[in-house]
């Protein structure tokens, strides 16, 4: 899968998992801070995002510190998915 295609897929999944009522994939920029003021996410959303990675991409995050580096932007999440899928 192309990186651009993966980004659109991930944005769609983020909207679905977090039920972001007012957003479409086009509204989410690759460098938007997921836990910034634009989306108003909280710790339960962080858990939802880590579950998304596990269910959709088979990647289990076991280190909470890792989550703080990965669940930052769409780009950081995509990089993490690509790196871990490649390892697998």
């Amino acid at each position: 899968m192309e990186v651009a295609e993966l980004k659109v897929k991930l944005k769609t999944q983020i909207i679905e998992y977090l039920n972001l009522l007012d957003f479409t994939p086009e509204d989410i920029d690759d460098e938007d801070q997921l836990f910034g003021p634009k989306f108003d996410l909280d710790s339960i959303d962080a858990l939802e995002l880590s579950v998304l990675l596990e269910r959709e991409y088979g990647i289990k995050m076991t280190d909470p510190a890792e989550g703080r580096k990965v669940l930052v932007t769409v780009n950081t999440m995509v990089d993490y998915i690509l790196a871990n899928k490649a390892e697998a």
Binding site: N19, L21, I44, V51, E54
Partner: protein, 345 residues
Amino acid sequence: MFIKDLSCISPQKTFEDDFFGTEPIIYTGSQLKAVEPSYADIPRSQLRRMGKSNRMATGAGMPLLQKHKTDGIIIGTTDGGMEDCHRFLNQIIQYEEGTLTPTNFVQGSPSSPAGGLALMSANSGYNNTHSNKGLSFENCLMDADLLFIEGRAKSLLVGCVEEISQAQYRIETLAGFIKKDEITSDKLIGCGTPGAINGEGATMFVLESENDNALAELVDADMISYPTADDLVAKAKLLLERNGLAVSDIDALMLGYSGDSNSDHWYDVFAEQLFPETGILSFKNLFGETPSASAFATWFAANLVNGKSVPSQAVHKPISGELKTILIYNHYQGNQHGFVVVRAV
């Protein structure tokens, strides 16, 4: 007890629009979905995580909690957020008891609406949820009454919420409790086929122990399970007697006719044996059947004794004279039977 204020989200336009000034919505089929408001007062970050029952309970309850200081919150719900509950249970199977998220679990808990309302309004008082199937609302009223009698509260938010969940709907349809035939809601009563039509919504009341410019009085409530017809009539007589009411004091019966040929005979027997001359109103042809449907009936009756005009679709047997006292009698699936007396103040 006195109704100080009230609010209702239902399959009719009861929340933002003037239900009593417009023609009721007529539905086809056996699911009457709630007409939900925009929920502009609920922060979007909270709204997006709410299941339907929580959304409706918050939407109906929060405006009342913002307007009135209350000593506690009592909510009745039979199934709570059943849609979320089923989603959570399915995830347990689908993901082999692996990582699960808390959202569906929290939203699926019956106590979530009462807890959510308390958190949002910073109400740290009494908080209770009654899940007593067809008598959830009557149990809420009994709970509130006991708190008032014991002097532990002067004002309470009391209400009920139910949502249509598709899994529950399928189960109840298979069990014969929901109609399989397509019928319009205006032709529901007396249609002669088994099953009711499913409704949903949230009804909230601010109840107070004293009459301080109240909208209506909740004179009394009572309940009985698995009665015979004689038990039922005896129970109703007892209810009237202990409140100093004669049969002639009841200006109208509000009966829970659901169009179910298996269980509507209870209403016929009740009216014929105890109230042969009294006018009869219906409400499930407007709001549908829910386990706590008597909450809708109480909202309806409180508005009627407060001077609102009776929609023609609700008249089952014509009423003569003013509507000052209404006796609500409702049962759920023929097993649990509840009474509520509503009177003008």
